[in-house]
Amino acid sequence: MAGGKQVIIEPHRHQGVFIARGKEDALVTKNMTPGETVYGEKKISVEENEIKIEYRAWNPFRSKLAAAILGGVDHIHIAPGSKVLYLGAASGTTVSHVSDIVGPDGLVYAVEFSHRSGRDLINVAKKRPNIIPIIEDARHPHKYRMLMGMVDTIFADVAQPDQARIVALNAHNFLKNGGHVVISIKANCIDSTAEPEAVFADEVNKLKSEKIKPQEQLTLEPYERDHAVVVGVYRAPPKK
């Protein structure tokens, strides 16, 4: 290529995630469907040993999961080959990146209640065989139980006051023992009058009462204000 290398790709701590440093300064995932973008994000192609690899920029200002990764979360529990239940999939922007990470061997069950954004989600799923779109209320897991298998991880970004209950319901139904839960909490959506710190602590306590043991909690500055991501383990095996 003329003018030397344009971009350096650095593998990230979390498998399937990379960091592109060049003119850009971006978190990226390897594009599963080269040549196509989902929501007009930037594509970065790199040629290595005559093989062209395409990456897609993952905007942490729009995706809580990306913000958590750049914020230094220890584990996202989403890796190549894992099965993920994604609650609150919206238009499928973050879901597309999760599908990039889990790769062809993994599965993403994407649950979204709104028909409007569900339409976009279905369009994303058409191109990506590892996404199973479910347009249903996450409060009623029995409505989509026939579509689901057991999952390794639940990621939830539902922004509802009863978020913890929704996650717990789904965990009781579909999450394997020792599986993990990653929840993004928007303090304003749970209780707009209380201090964000108090809201996060409250949610963590709710999770504890539902057999989800918290492992870490991370706020999302500078990408989001008063947001936190909590990672927990469901029915953890006792420590030896």
Binding site: G4, I8, R13, E24, L27, N59, G71, V73, P214, Q217
Partner: protein, 254 residues
């Protein structure tokens, strides 16, 4: 006889133009007849004008009526035309003009916002030199565990990488990574310069967008103030980064 004339000219003494003497240099260049003429004509013109005006003042009729007596007024000793009573624009015209201005500002603002969004999509403020801005809590089982907590060990990375929140490679990755990835310094410098440039552009655009937002808010308020029919109360004055705030009386709409 023209050849004769030429010869006599060549033999005659040359008269060169006189210049100012060195000793009188401070008086400026030496004045010549044509310079004098110019100066004298100007002086005569001025004298004539003064004479004419003096005559005019002497012949003035103190009882005469001039329209300028009512059309002008004195401001700081100077006569100025009074503003006409008739407004130049009707209220609706003013409203339309103002709304057009607001529309333009809003258009520029939305353009700016789009550009910011585009830049932000590939500039993710990844910087390891800065202190992390967020708060990370690790939950452990007992107090003893909390006391003996070693962050680098927990994250399975090198202690020097703890500040580098955006990516802390695991020890396994560090062991097998080939750091010398044949990247020459020149292209590395070029890349970082380009990145710097992009960040600079982003911060400038963010600043501009903020200014535009404030302008648009101020214009919006001033447009509302044109409507004199409803009562309002000023809550706070406008500052350089805030529009003035008013509270309007509530009117029930039927």
């Amino acid at each position: 006889m023209s050849s004769w004339k030429k010869v006599s000219k060549a033999k005659s003494k040359q008269h060169r133009e006189r210049s100012q003497l060195e000793s009188r240099k401070w008086l400026g260049p030496l004045e010549k007849k044509k310079d004098y003429k110019k100066r004298a004509q100007e002086q005569h013109r001025k004298d004539a004008t003064i004479k004419y005006l003096r005559r005019k003042a002497e012949n003035r009729n103190p009882d005469e009526y001039y329209f300028n007596m009512v059309k002008t007024r004195k401001v700081d000793g100077q006569h100025q035309a009074k503003e006409s009573e008739e407004p130049e624009f009707t209220d609706t015209q003013v409203k339309i003009m103002e709304s057009q201005d607001i529309n333009y500002v809003n258009l520029m603002r939305s353009k700016e916002l789009k550009k910011i969004e585009k830049l932000k999509s590939s500039l993710h403020v990844i910087d390891s030199s800065q202190e992390p801005q967020n708060k990370h809590i690790i939950f452990v089982d007992s107090k003893k565990e909390a006391k003996n907590f070693d962050a680098a060990q927990h994250f399975d990375t090198h202690p020097s990488l703890m500040k580098r929140v955006y990516n802390r490679p695991t020890s396994k990755m560090l062991a097998q990574q080939d750091l010398a990835k044949n990247i020459d310094d020149r292209s590395l410098n070029k890349m970082s310069a380009q990145r710097e440039q992009q960040y600079k552009e982003l911060s400038k655009r963010i600043g501009r967008e903020k200014e535009l937002r404030i302008i648009s808010e101020k214009m919006e308020i001033s447009r509302h103030l044109l409507d004199k029919s409803s009562k309002r109360k000023k809550i706070s004055d406008g500052t350089k980064d805030q529009a003035p705030q008013y509270r309007w009386c509530f009117h029930r709409k039927r």
